[in-house]
């Protein structure tokens, strides 16, 4: 018997004026699973994460987390309930130190935020050497890692990962993919938005391909690459059979 879904998204709709950024998206996610959201720019991937994480309200459908409808819950409340996210362009608290950035998250999330926990987290993500530095002094890869550390310090059960791999070099990509797999092995569910297919292939258990606010495919990434609709969306009509 498959485990009870941690997150259930059902016919989710989000409009910006007359534009339907999400047009009835449905999927679910179980603990320990890594689900990839892929699709061309403007297909609604980040909007989906923004709605689930409470940054945007929704215009239709439902989002259920651990059996409870979380519609209308503000982002800070969701962080405390166990949903957190990373940002495509991380904006850490630049003038605060790396440790302070993570401490703040730990105070406000579900984590205990004990010194040992935070030290462990910083060490696990190779940030311990920079703990006393201002976040503004880190390079972009380190700021992305800090963004992940900030999210993890809240002890989420569901982590929404928005283009974490963009801008990382191959060695950093491999390390980041391993980290995400390790989190999933620990029981955390991850929803990963990413354009790098190699990274998605390495990290995810299954993917949802989106186009124009709708899901057009759900399954293994390998199967998606043979799906005519997916090929049409990514490569154009000439390539689809």
């Amino acid at each position: 018997m498959s485990p009870e879904p941690l997150l259930r998204v059902d016919r989710l709709v989000k409009r910006f004026g007359g534009f339907r950024a999400l047009d009835g998206v449905s999927f679910h996610l179980v603990p320990g699973e890594v689900l990839g959201l892929v699709g061309p720019n403007g297909s609604g991937k980040t909007t989906c994460i923004n709605v689930i994480s409470g940054l945007y309200g929704r215009d239709g459908g439902s989002v259920t987390f651990r059996g409870r409808d979380i519609a209308g819950s503000r982002a800070h409340m969701l962080a405390r309930r166990g949903i957190n996210r990373t940002f495509q362009s991380p904006r850490p608290f630049l003038s605060l130190t790396v440790r302070e950035n993570v401490e703040i998250a730990a105070w406000n999330g579900r984590g205990d935020g004990t010194k040992a926990d935070l030290d462990g987290l910083l060490e696990q993500l190779d940030l311990h050497r920079h703990a006393g530095r201002a976040a503004g002094d880190l390079n972009s890869a380190q700021q992305k890692t800090l963004d992940l550390a900030r999210a993890l310090a809240t002890a989420p059960k569901l982590l929404l990962v928005d283009e974490l791999a963009a801008g990382l070099n191959p060695a950093e990509l491999t390390r980041m993919a391993e980290r995400l797999r390790e989190l999933a092995r620990g029981g955390m569910a991850l929803l990963v938005v990413e354009h790098l297919m190699g990274f998605i292939d390495h990290v995810t258990d299954r993917v949802i391909v989106m186009n124009a606010g709708r899901e057009i495919f759900e399954g293994k990434l390998g199967e998606a690459t043979r799906d005519p609709e997916v090929i049409r969306v990514f490569l154009g009509t000439a390539h689809a059979r």
Binding site: L55, A75, H76, P92, E100, I104, R150
Partner: protein
């Protein structure tokens, strides 16, 4: 004469730091402009006037009362007004319009309730005789007011840099979106900062009769211009940069009053124009604007 002007300017600078501090704290945290700031200062002055007139309450005690009461008044006022502004696309512009309306209302109601007569409190209440500093004699009430101002700045420093709530406040100053995603209750942090901003304006008001001579219900806009000059010079959005802005403003004001007295009233506008043209990020620059 130059030394006296410089010392007086320093004392006034500390006071004007307090005048601008609350406005800058509110802007730094919420990115909204409280145009009613000067009127809350005026209400603080009226509170001190009546508390002294009715109960002979020492201004220092009045300042403590005003800090508590104004901060508490700020909390519901925040929830009534500001969350809607923050949700708007152009919250800075909307805040100008909304708080301009509030400013007009406060001024009108105060004028109707208490009249437009100038109100003052005798300077001797804060101590008689001058204080001698580097051989120069300064009124005790000025030095006392400057001391309270410095204590208020220290209070804000401790709040921002030594408390957990202060760290959350600094986090909100850097990035509202990231702060929310981190789990920070944005409105709780903003409401406290807004209340504290009004409380600081109230304390500045308590000492306004001593530093400005007298107050009327119409003093708000004039105070606002001075406060804007102070915080723009000292870097908009950086509460502690206000200290530098206050000192520059105070010393310039006293030098102008000493050597070019008929031009002194132009100073706030001149400073504003000069800084916006030459260094629009303020004297401390963009780096510290990130809090």
């Amino acid at each position: 004469m130059l030394l006296h002007a410089a010392l007086s300017g320093l004392v006034f600078g500390f006071y004007f730091t307090l005048v601008g501090l609350g406005l800058n704290l509110v802007f730094g945290v919420m990115r909204i402009v409280n145009l009613a700031h000067g009127d809350f200062l005026m209400l603080g002055a009226y509170s001190a006037f009546w508390l002294f007139g009715l109960y002979h309450l020492h201004p220092l005690l009045s300042a403590a009362c005003v800090l508590v009461v104004f901060t508490l008044v700020g909390l519901p006022l925040y929830y009534l007004v500001v969350p809607r502004l923050l949700a708007a696309r152009d919250s800075e512009m909307l805040s100008l319009i909304l708080f301009f309306g509030l400013q007009q209302m406060i001024e009108a109601v105060t004028s109707i309730a208490f009249g437009t007569t100038e109100r003052s409190i005798p300077g001797r209440v804060l101590g008689s005789g001058p204080v001698r500093l580097l051989g120069q004699a300064l009124p005790t009430s000025w030095v006392f007011s400057a001391g309270v101002s410095l204590a208020a700045v220290a209070l804000v420093y401790v709040y921002l840099y030594q408390t957990r709530l202060g760290m959350l406040t600094r986090a909100v100053m850097v990035s509202r979106e990231e702060a929310v995603a981190t789990g920070i209750d944005l409105h709780r942090v903003c409401a406290i900062a807004f209340g504290l901003g009004l409380g600081l304006a109230g304390i500045a008001g308590v000492f306004a009769p001593f530093m400005l001579g007298s107050v009327t219900p119409a003093i708000g806009p004039e105070i606002n211009i001075a406060a804007f000059a102070v915080i723009v010079v000292g870097t908009l959005g950086n509460p502690l940069g206000t200290v530098l802005g206050g000192i520059v403003y105070g010393v310039s004001l006293m030098l102008m009053q000493t050597y070019l007295s008929s031009w002194a009233n132009l100073l706030p506008n001149l400073l504003l124009i000069a800084v916006l043209l030459v260094r629009p990020t303020g004297l401390l620059g963009r780096r510290v604007r990130r809090a």
